[in-house]
Point group: C2
Chain length 166, copies 2
């Protein structure tokens, strides 16, 4: 009997992985409830965690049409990097709005006070890689919303712009 | 007169970039001379630096047929992440040798004493993204070679396994 076994693609083993098997997290349970609808069509796979990495996070993220990557924000200590894998994302910053296609990159240095996010204004999914380090004491500002991500001795929580907890 | 201007793809502006314009560095001038031939067909573009990021490095790296990503090594404090963009790379570790294709990932947590590198054993170029943080005090061990990357108060240099400088 002839089997087809040798023609199946072999799945890689750690320290390599096929991202297909990494759990997908849809939407956000971290934002205060009024802000969650914007990211309801965002699906993240935490690749770095799946590989045992700790110093930085790497996510493979898919945005359905209409979904946002995040509320527009900037970080005080964390650097962020984006690589578009497929589809088209609109990058929104203080002064610009530009469409990024497969192979394009973007970077947001820590402390640069220019709020940014990606929006999927196209009719099909966009997929991108995002990398962010885990500098202690990182906080995030949200210029368009009554929101601030506050760090207190390593514990982060969302507060209003007045400092009152959400 | 009709011009074609509107049909040209628009190049992104910072904080986004088209990696095509980022300078390419061929081979290594960092390894001691006897080790440089293995990476002569390696072309790196330092994307993270081009975007102004400091907490971690992101390179878009191309290996010509036969080229190595690096001598087989592991880091004491740095986490490393790999994402295959196109082509096929052979990942070599202590116990395995496996072919990674586009979309596959690999990760090498700091301090895990399993030397790794990628080799291009195919007939066409392989392109991958590599991310590594910049933890102070990081050193690297090279199990197959008379080489160690030593850190002394933030200055790193290659030494023999005896500790004698190269």
């Amino acid at each position: 009997m002839v089997t087809n076994r040798s023609k199946r693609p072999r799945l890689p083993k750690l320290p390599a992985l096929d991202p297909t098997g990494v759990p997908a997290i849809k939407g956000s349970s971290a934002y205060p409830p009024p802000f969650r609808a914007k990211v309801a069509g965002r699906i993240k796979q935490r690749l770095g965690d799946a590989l045992g990495l700790r110093n930085f996070g790497v996510n493979l993220t898919r945005l359905e049409p209409g979904a946002w990557s995040a509320l527009r924000h900037w970080h005080t200590r964390q650097d962020e990097f984006i690589y578009i894998v497929s589809g088209e994302a609109t990058l929104v910053t203080d002064r610009s709005r530009q469409v990024l296609t497969a192979g394009m990159i973007a970077g947001f240095p820590a402390g640069r006070a220019d709020g940014h996010h990606l929006i999927n204004r196209s009719k099909r999914d966009v997929v991108y890689l995002e990398v962010g380090d885990r500098m202690p004491g990182d906080e995030a500002a949200y210029p368009d919303d009554d929101l601030f991500l506050k760090d207190k001795a390593g514990a982060r929580s969302f507060v209003h712009k007045t400092g009152k907890p959400w």
